[in-house]
Amino acid sequence: MKKRWARRHIVEGIFKVLMLTSFVLVTGSLMFILWTIMSKGFPALSWAMLTQTPNGGYYLGKTGGILNAILGSLYMAGGGTLLALLFSLPTALYLETYLANSSWSQYVRLALDILWGIPSIVYGAFGFIFMLAIGMRASLLGGVIALTLLELPIMTRAMDEVIRLMPPDLEQAALALGSTRLEVALRVVTRQMLPGIVTAILLAFGRGIGDAASVLFTAGYTDRLPTSLLRPAASLPLAIYFQLSMPYPEVQNRAYAAALILTLIVLAVSLGSRALVRRLNKNIFR
């Protein structure tokens, strides 16, 4: 009896060590990247970068900032995320509350998985072809559409995964009390799985705001602030990409600062929305 007890615990001990090592390795690599961004980006960061648009000599190393890209990215990713949310949440809820495991849900999930794997450059190319076909030029709207396409499968699939984990008892209790599926979906599921849903939204937002390939052809670029849906708009990933390609080390260093700004934006949005969710959601059944 004593021997078997010891063995199980030894195995668990070994696994614990393995897990800790993995955890440390993973967190370590991730911290390494953050540290690189911060150490290279912080020195080049300045108040001017956040509040000014590039002046003509900006790419030659002179004054200016990337406010155009900051606002552009926020608008584009914000718009794309909202639009994607509009389509994802109903789809995900539908898959769980109305459809269960029917064959249509299989097709939808398969389609989502395929869309999820398509490289962002293909969405960019697709958007570009579409825009040419209807005579639209590279613009903020084009960027929003491309990002919506990109974020849609991410958001839907992540929400779907989360919503499926809903404790069935809760759902069935609601149905048994006479709720319609709609009410179950809107009032019970959403409230219960809100943290997971917010995670899904944040994942999609983060992917969208950080992607360069899809906006390169659809959103264009400009040094001016985004004021119209139909004019090209700058974005942070492209700002980073362009600045990295300039022959001036000062400009290249500013690319790291831009990367830092992007990371901080995502952090702020992430923390902010989680705090909001925690405030709103006291009644989860766990």
Binding site: Y75, R187, G220, Y221, S228, R231, P232, S245, L280
Partner: protein
């Protein structure tokens, strides 16, 4: 809670739409006092990274004279510039290489705007650097390195078989005008003929060579030299191309400062290719605001060329270009 979510959604969507559509008439909020010539409108430009800083500089200067004109300038590479111009997505495409007949057939109308050149670059700690700087490298040797791959060690390059250090060859991975031109100089047809590890971007190529003592690559004029000091970037050296094939690197074949190199490109001593004219492409002959801008670039705009690391077009080519545009 759901009501709040719906409310927030509605508010933000409305705000986004109102804010964006409200100004789609295109007027900027701060209207400066109108100049005597009331040129206004917007010019969209995209294309080669090589020309990108130059173009933004030109735009800034042009805007000082004509405040009503707005610019939207984007990078993305020479190929993107061509694609965008031909598809009507932008007004002007910046293309850092020669225009192909197939492109002319699709409506490409081009004028040169600056001159640029590609230089071969090696690491300053290369094992045979002294021999290279003394004798130069012929274009035939370069061809055997970059295109056919017959030469694989640095010893073979300088004729010292006992040096067995391998050549670490680098090229551009993104579709680049510089690569096309370099390949053509060495007898190939295009970028795909160049061997080597593909690195992204001009600065990326330079960094790869600077980090690798056995590396060799190629860079545009503005990247092969440190633009702020006018000298070579630390860790890299421009290889003298032995154009007259006399086995020595003559003083006019060695370039250690930006001024030297620019001068050689300007007076034609540095061969073209790999020197080349960088082009502005429009779909069909430009007119109106775009035409005015291009004419300005070819005349008053040329003074700003050297600060960006380029070479002005020689006067006869400039005149030709002006004729073509007017």
């Amino acid at each position: 809670m759901l009501k709040m979510v719906r409310f927030l959604l509605a508010v933000s969507l409305t705000a986004l739409l109102l804010g964006a559509c409200g100004n789609s008439s295109g007027n900027s909020s701060s209207a400066p006092t109108p100049q005597p010539d009331m040129l206004n409108g917007t010019i969209t430009i995209s294309g080669a990274f090589a020309l990108y800083p130059m173009m933004t500089r030109w735009a800034e200067e042009f805007q000082k004279i004509h405040p009503g004109v707005k610019f939207d300038i984007s990078g993305g590479g020479a190929g993107k510039g061509m694609t965008d111009a031909l598809s009507g997505a932008v007004d002007i495409g910046m293309v850092s290489r020669a225009i192909k007949p197939a492109e002319v057939q699709q409506g490409a109308y081009y004028v040169g705007c600056v001159k640029d050149a590609v230089f071969p670059v090696v690491n300053s700690k290369n094992p045979v650097i002294d021999v290279i700087m003394a004798n130069g490298i012929t274009s035939d040797t370069l061809r055997k390195i970059f295109i056919t791959g017959e030469i694989t060690t640095w010893g073979q390059v300088v004729g010292k078989p006992d040096v067995t250090d391998e050549i670490h060859l680098y090229t551009r991975s993104d579709a680049a005008g510089a690569s096309d031109v370099w390949a053509q100089f060495l007898g190939g047809k295009g970028q795909a003929d160049l061997k080597g590890i593909g690195v992204n971007g001009d600065p990326g190529l330079l960094n790869a060579v600077v980090s690798d003592p056995l590396g060799i690559g190629y860079n545009n004029l503005g990247y092969a030299f440190d633009l702020s000091t006018g000298k070579l970037p630390s860790g890299a050296v421009v290889v003298p191309i032995d154009s007259n094939q006399n086995g020595t690197a003559d003083p006019d074949e060695i370039f250690s400062t930006l001024t030297q190199a620019s001068a050689a490109v300007a007076n034609g001593k540095y061969p073209s290719p790999p020197g080349r004219v960088e082009n502005l492409v429009t779909k069909g002959k430009p007119s109106g605001l775009v035409q005015t801008f291009i004419i300005w670039i070819l005349s008053d705009g040329q003074v700003f060329v050297s600060e960006a690391g380029f070479v002005q077009l020689p006067p006869d080519q400039l005149a030709e270009a002006l004729v073509k545009v007017k």
